[in-house]
Point group: none
Chain length 222, copies 2
Amino acid sequence: MKILLVEDDLALSDVVSFTLRRAGFEVIPAYDGAAAIAAWEASQPALVVLDLNLPKQDGFTVCRHIRSQSQTPIIILSVRSGDDVIVRALELGADDYIVKPFSPAQLVARIRAVLRRAGASAASGVLERGGWTLDPARHEVRWVGGEPVHLTGLETRLLEALMLNAGAVLTADALIQAVWGVEGGSRTMLKQLVYRLRAKLEAAGGGEIIETVPGVGYAFPA
Amino acid sequence: MKILLVEDDLALSDVVSFTLRRAGFEVIPAYDGAAAIAAWEASQPALVVLDLNLPKQDGFTVCRHIRSQSQTPIIILSVRSGDDVIVRALELGADDYIVKPFSPAQLVARIRAVLRRAGASAASGVLERGGWTLDPARHEVRWVGGEPVHLTGLETRLLEALMLNAGAVLTADALIQAVWGVEGGSRTMLKQLVYRLRAKLEAAGGGEIIETVPGVGYAFPA
DNA sequence: CAAACTTGTTACCAAACTGTTACCACTTGA
DNA sequence: TCAAGTGGTAACAGTTTGGTAACAAGTTTG
């Protein structure tokens, strides 16, 4: 199981690497933010251990980038123990936050806990909700018994966000962020995208698909 | 979303309860290990916040018991910050371990992180009071057995404030602040809003809904 | 290269939302 | 009894929101 370890302090990185390897993980080290993103894309690790204080790009940026593209579990390491920082990191999608100094044993235990939890809900990436099957890797949706329909990249990300949270209402802003990332996107574009996606889904079979919750956002029926 | 809070320190339990409720969770308190297990079985919470140091049965026992029967996420609270204790708790199946003293905000953030990872959608915030069910996220109210009625954003906030304090009288100023924030809002607008909200609620089923307390404000019947 | 597709942009319309003003009934207290 | 204040109702207009359409620039594909 591959773990991406993003830590610029060489000595600490080595110690942690050693511990993780002894615990049976394969460790991919990265020493700054830019390298971290590159390594993440290249190696597709099962989990990321991320120092907040990094050269090139700080940990928040890396965290946001990874979260905008996948559900890979992220554990933050940091000397900063301020509440606002911790809350912000967790809200950004981090799974755990460990304050330095920490013990290697605890890190391993927390990694196992997060992986256990992630493994339970993670899957191949294929989502099945109420008759629809979405394969994000292939950019395809299918209605039960129907033919697969091709989606564009943006449409796929939108539908994935909605199906991942089936039954819940996602605000326009949340969806914009899920589709276009932190920068970019707008209400207008979201409107367009929903319109286009609905057209494809309706053409593919099922009836009412994406619910509008006026003044709030959209929801995929549970 | 129901959270079982197992904490024998009454004062702390109350503080945490308050915070969690304000964050939109429904809190079920338990004050010792035996009660915790009973409450867990009875109420099937979405997550358990568990103090380690308990009368009757200690936290480890409770944790093991719950883990042996379900995947319900568990977050441990404890004054003990020893590594061995933390590692042991995590290996026993806990999802997170928070060392006292902690801040309520961080607890909420960690609860959300664990719930997110566990696949549950975040706190729903649904309020049920005397036959009415309000889902603030969807801007919908429903009378028992009836169809959901759509509310506007302002109406939702008003009804939410009233239902959160069901049985109590809220002054006009308090309501204005709850709906429009610190700036903005006026008696006239509140009058209008109450009128419109009542119209929708009456059309939806139930009889007398929002009580007027002349010269003071409004109340939602307990 | 040309055709097809993807994406962002602008525009328009209908519906919904919100603030404002006005009017009436009722209570309260001088 | 009358004036002032409070609360309910009504109508109206400006704004916002959501769905639809058409189009252009950029990209991919045959």
